[in-house]
Structure formats: structure tokens, C-alpha cells
Symmetry: C2
Subunit: 479 residues, 2 copies
Amino acid sequence: MSKDDFVKEITNIEDDFAKWFTDIVIKAELADYTEVKGFIAYRPYGYAMWENIQKYADNEFKKKGVENIALPMLMPEHYLTTEKEHVEGFAPEVAWVTHGGGKELEERLYIRPTSEPLFCRMYAKWLKSWRDLPMKYNQWCNVLRWEKETRPILRSREFYWQEGHTIHSTEKEAREMTLEMLDVYADVIENLLAIPVIKGRKTESEKFAGAVDTYTVETLMHDGRAIQAGTSHYLGQNFTKPFGVKFQNKDGKEEFAYHTSWGISTRLIGAMIMAHGDNRGLKVPPKLAPIQAVIVPIQMQKTGVMEKVNEIYDSLKDKIRIKVDDRDQYSPGYKYNDWEMRGVPVRIEIGPRDIENNKCVIVRRDTLEKQECVLNELEDKLEKLMIEIQQNMYNMCMENVKNKTTIAINMEEFEKNINEHQGFIKAMWCGDAECEEHIHNVTGAKSRCIPFKEEKNISDVCVVCGKKAKNMVIWGRQY
Amino acid sequence: MSKDDFVKEITNIEDDFAKWFTDIVIKAELADYTEVKGFIAYRPYGYAMWENIQKYADNEFKKKGVENIALPMLMPEHYLTTEKEHVEGFAPEVAWVTHGGGKELEERLYIRPTSEPLFCRMYAKWLKSWRDLPMKYNQWCNVLRWEKETRPILRSREFYWQEGHTIHSTEKEAREMTLEMLDVYADVIENLLAIPVIKGRKTESEKFAGAVDTYTVETLMHDGRAIQAGTSHYLGQNFTKPFGVKFQNKDGKEEFAYHTSWGISTRLIGAMIMAHGDNRGLKVPPKLAPIQAVIVPIQMQKTGVMEKVNEIYDSLKDKIRIKVDDRDQYSPGYKYNDWEMRGVPVRIEIGPRDIENNKCVIVRRDTLEKQECVLNELEDKLEKLMIEIQQNMYNMCMENVKNKTTIAINMEEFEKNINEHQGFIKAMWCGDAECEEHIHNVTGAKSRCIPFKEEKNISDVCVVCGKKAKNMVIWGRQY
């Protein structure tokens, strides 16, 4: 099989981005379909990425004083209906357990789509006095949302995430926590996944069902569509009041706690694929990569080759996540394509002639650049390359964002820009939900966020209605 | 509140062990009830123990070449009914999802009680040739079994566990894997939880629904009842045949894979509580303990006390999991009781006079022994103490097993022994399920296992029927 034949198995990225994405997920063995629509199986390579995200994020959470707990996956129906906006937002998407242990249940139970009601119910039990506050709890768990349209990793019915819920004695402190966690998410996405983010606040129409304010980190994919990569909500007392989360404050008076919630999910793996990938397949940033370097031996049956390869492997295996591809049923050429497709940041080729000359060939996945390396410099070289590739992937992604971010001062420009290269569109907005709706109907774009860094000099008037503008909004079509 | 008042809140361990257990779970803030029967909430202190078990076990699994994956929590009804013994074992205990996204489902879905069918279904998709074998996958997840009688941590409807499922090209290799994983479990339970285990094989009546052979690690609690702490199953081709998990072997012929599965769960936390606890509360082995040492400052408002305490804390916090109890609403005496109840292995008391003399007082939770320690020797002292306490807790537990293990050569002895001090009873057995049933009906004891180390010289005949004995069996009442 020639290089081109092998790559042909993946749909061309410019022809059909959605199909390209699914090809990568399946062929790089990140995940697979199961027989139930919308439920996928994570394979070792995909799940190891989630474990790396968990490790990194969990460590950051702990620095903020967050502790992990675990709450049940099932909640009684009346929890869902207690908060008005919450039930409207989630009721259509839940799955119902009606029978257990051979009997019909008296009250139906729903599988959590998110756990605000249950966190609040437990906080109500545990919270007594201002001395107990803040309480900063998080859980890593599975949730279920019965989506109509599904797509592996990016939008599956069951997915994995963390949901942090904190309660505080003042609005000020809770609002600060909301933004601190948004910063943690920006850190995870920019520094681990090498994807630049735009931080901002969601408009009224786009915020979480039950939130006072929703903050978001927005990212842009290779094809110019946006992904909301993480959200952090200031929930005020919207849930703590109906669920009775109250405490005795310093003045001895009863008060309802101020509440935040925030989450990132396995969607981040989908964003990573779509932000970095190319026609050869996946590109995994070194810090996230389950395999950071792969050694492909050449003429591995020749005396001394595997001995040398194993020696190199042994000397590196505690410093870097490295693998030897010693499969004897495939040619080196096949393996090169295979590991490029799987997005391993660095490939090391070593054959008898290299060994004679005490060197090897290194190929970077991000640039496909080939270079020779003296064997006793390999460790240093790899260490430097990991940093370089991580940075370069971020830069390439930022380049894409810059190229695909435009300004629109009227709807004609808006439509022209979004049809030409999708991307982020910066445009002024009057604050009216009808104008937002109009943009969505005409262009398919939604408001991504009101960015923290607003550029108010774009125009004085709303891009839709021409009335006085209130905010600059970033718009885009989304996944 | 005096020391005795405080301890009175916990039921006496000799009066009502079950109530004592529940008191500990709730008052030490390991977990709490939710409003749905059989579903509990793990609080930070309890969940941190599970995280420590996960970390330790996961690391051991990886040494055996096991990789983590994640499969859906829901399976279609026909998966449950495919393997005959499996459906009989689990159908009465499952919860059914009948509606999703506002519609009744065409085929009901069940929440996993265990995932043999789904692992096999996916293995059938992924396995092609002998070159792909072995495949050794594991998942850390929640499962649900609709138990009639529930008890927090020990027997809840939803619980957390890992389920490893491996497939192999030969029976020999699969059987070896089954026993290797049993050894890993013995390691986790003995070395992390400080609980001695007996390794053995389950009898026909007690094995897993669908297994060829079930192996177990059995433990004994403070009150003499047994807990099955982990099981490892050799499943042969019982699942791989009906689910079509086949491969082309080296001779080019199709063959069904040989399958193992093995699991440990949050029950281990229950076993740890019941194996080690006493009338003062919990005793957590140092290796497992989320907090290994707690500093209780005395006269903390006095100048210099908190400065010194924080200085000590800072010098130790990277070496040991340590906490300062600086709550100003409680007396030192209250705090002593509180941390004893929570089972923290070592308490450090420091007051103004200690600081003057450059020392502190150390109290071990396992022996309640008090000793003085010069401050600049504290780090060394704590390091040694952690090892000593871990070992001593194991020894104390082993002492309990020895004291409560007896031999019975007839039913009169059997009944007398089990009624006197419960415990493990060693007795010979003919191999007939009816005799096993008889013992259960008469004494409430079940066969725990046929231990790997059988002592065949106890008697030549079955303890029940007097016919020729086949095996020595360890019997006991169980949780």
C-alpha cells in the first residue's frame, strides 16, 4: 500500500470536514460506535487523552481549594421541576428510569444531564453556618442528554465531564470564583490543548438554563466553526432558594448561599481534533499526547537493530511517553502513515545504517520536517522538540483564528464574511434578542460571547437594526 | 462537651455493629444518604479514599499491560438475555430506561450492573487476528444493582468500581491472567488497606453468573463477619461465543477468544471501616488516609503559636498529607475526639509550652499511645510512624482473623463455633451443593472459598453428610 492509498482512506478535509472528523475518530482508534445511537465507546488512545485532561485540570482545581465528591446519577422527577428555567432547558433531553428491581417506580428517576438540583439538595443538608463556607465541590462523572443529532465525541448522548459547584457567603466571592474557574479552563485549553480561546460572557439567550450569568471560553476550528469549550456560571440564588441552601450569617441571620457551577467535557477532545488536524489525520499536542514519540525500526530483522532500538527506548521511557512499533506485518512506510494519522508529535526512524553512524532521523508531525539527530543528543532534542511543537501548534491555531476573524458593520458584510470563510465575526449589537435571532435565521451564526476585551470602535450602531449599539459581540456558526 | 459525651454519639461497637458502622459513615463525613433509597453521596473525605484506591490499583493494572477505556452505561435489553446464566443472575437487579428525549424507546435500555455483554460486543468489533491478542481493557465507572436491602458504602444500589475484561488466544493465558489480577487485588487490600486476605476459588453455587471459575479474596471484619473484597473470573468462552468474539489463529482457523473479568469496588472502603474501626470511630491506614496527620494547636490565640504551627505545616506539607485544625469555635479536646473519630493516623499537639521547649506531643490513632517529639526530629518520626502504624494495623487485623478462625469436624462444632464468635470456619466438604445449602440454612454461613492453601488433614469426611470429603472450604457469615 502506498502512502497515498493509505491516506485516501480519510476523507479530504476540504471536501467534507464532518466526514473527515468521523474518519479520524474511528481510524485513529479514539472511539467507536456502539449499537445504541448516540452512545460511543472510548478506546484506549482516546480515553488516555481524557485521562490527561483530567489529571491536568484536577490539579488546577485543587489549587483553588476544590474537593472531589460523587453524587448519584439518578434524581427524582421533582428535582427537575423545582427550578423553572432549568426544567424548560433540560426536560426535553432527559432519559427516564421507570422500573427497578422488577417493579414500576412510584416516582420516575431521571439520569443527570447536569446536577445543580442534587448538589443543592446535599448542600442544604451539609451547610449550617457561615463558618462552613465556601464549600467547593466537584465531580468527574458521566451525564446524559438525549440529543437528536449526535456525532461521536463532539455530541454524544452520554458524555464524560466534570461539574464543579461551589457555594459562598457573598455574591462578590461567588462571582470571583466563577471567573477564576473560567481562567482555569482557559489555561487547560490554551496550555494543554494548544488552542487559543476568547473569554467572554454569554448573551441572555445563550446562557445556561437557570444561570444569572454564563461565562464561556470560545474556540475556533480548522474549518472556521466555533466550539464552546467550557462554561462557568454564576447562578446567584436561583437554585439555592428553591432547594433551601441557607446558612446563618455572621449577624446570626438566615441567608441563601451564592452559587456557581462550571464544566468541561470530553468535547474538548473533539475540539482538539478539529482545531489541529489536517489531511494526514490527527495532530496531538505533546502535553496531551498519550504517545509523544514513536520509534519505527527499519530492517528490524537485521542483527543489532532491535537491540539498539530497545536500548534507546529504555533510556527514554521514563522521560517521555514513547513507544516502539515492532509490528512485523507492516512496512516502515505503512507505519509512518499510521502514526502520522494518529497524530503522534514525533517519529524516530532508525535502521542499520543509522546505527552504524550513531544517529537517527526525526520527523515532526506538526511541520513534517525531517532532521538527523546524533543518538546521544536524542534525549535533549526530544525535550526541546516537545516544547517547540506545543508552541508551534498553538501558533498555527492562532493564525487560523486571525485569518478567520473579521469585522462586519452591516448585514451585507456579515453575510459575505461568514459565507466566505465562516470564522468569528465581530459586530456591534443593540442588546435585543430579536436582532440576535435575526442574525441566526439569516446567517446560521449565533452570538458566541460578549468578549471581555470589547472593541467598541467598530461602529456606534447595531449591525442588524441600526439602533444604538450596546456591546460588541463575537458571532459564529457552531458545532 | 466532655470526651465521653462526644464519643457517646457513636453507637457502641459491641452493642450494635451495624448501627456503629452507619454512625461512622455519617459522622466521619465519608458519605451521606440522598432522598432516593440506596443512592448515597460520597463526601470529600470518603471520596478521597476511593481516589487513593484508584491511584494505587490503576498503577498496578498498568504494570500488567492493562489500558483504560470507557463504555456506555446503557445497554439494549437483548444484551442481557444473550447469556443464559447472566440473565438469571442480573435481570432481577437491573433498572430500566424506557423513555428518552420525550419518547418511549423501541427497545428498553438497562443501566449496567456489570458490562460483560458490552465489552464482548466491542471486542467482537475490534478483534481480527491472533496478532491483536491479548487485549486487556479496564474501566473505572458507576454501576447499578437494584438491591432490596441497602447499606451506605457497603451495599448501595449505585456504586463505583473498576471492571477489567481481557481476552486471550489460549485458555492457559487467560487463566494465568485471572490469577495475576487476584494477586493484584490481594496486594491492594493487604498493602494499601492493611487487611489480610484469604485467596481461593468460589464453589459452583457462589461463582459469578456466567463464569467458568470465580476466584476471590476474602476478608474478615471486626465482628467476625466476612466480606468478599474482590473477585476475578475466568469466563472461558461463555460470553465470547454468543457475542461472536472470534479471531483467526496462527493456523488460519477461526477461534473464540478466552475471556477474564475482575472487579473491586467502593465496598473496599466499607471493609476498611469494619476491619479496623473501634469505639472511638474510624482508623484509616496511613497509606490510604486522605489526612495522615493533623496538627491541633493549643491556645492558638497566644502570640507565636499559629506562626510556629504554620511553619511546621509548611515544612511537612510536601512530605505527608497533613492538615492544621485552626477552627476557633472548638476546644482542643473536642478536636482530639473529632480527629480520632475520623481515624487520622497521627495527631500532633502543640501549645506555647511545647514551643518553648522546642517539642510537641504525638498521639497514634492505632494504639492511642502518646509521646513527646523534638520538633526537628518530627519529619523523621512521622515517616517512621506511618510505616509502623500501617504494619501494626495489618497485624491487629490478622490477630482478629486468627482469633476468629476455627475448625469444625461436625455440625455441632460448626454451630457452636459460629454462634460463639462468628469468624471463618474451616470444614471439609463433599462437593455437593445440598450440603452447602444445609449449612447456610442451619447456621447462616456460606462457603467463602476453597482456599489455595487447603489443609486436608482436618477430616476425611464432609462436615454435613459424612461422605468422602473433596475439599476444605472456609465458611462464614457475610456482609
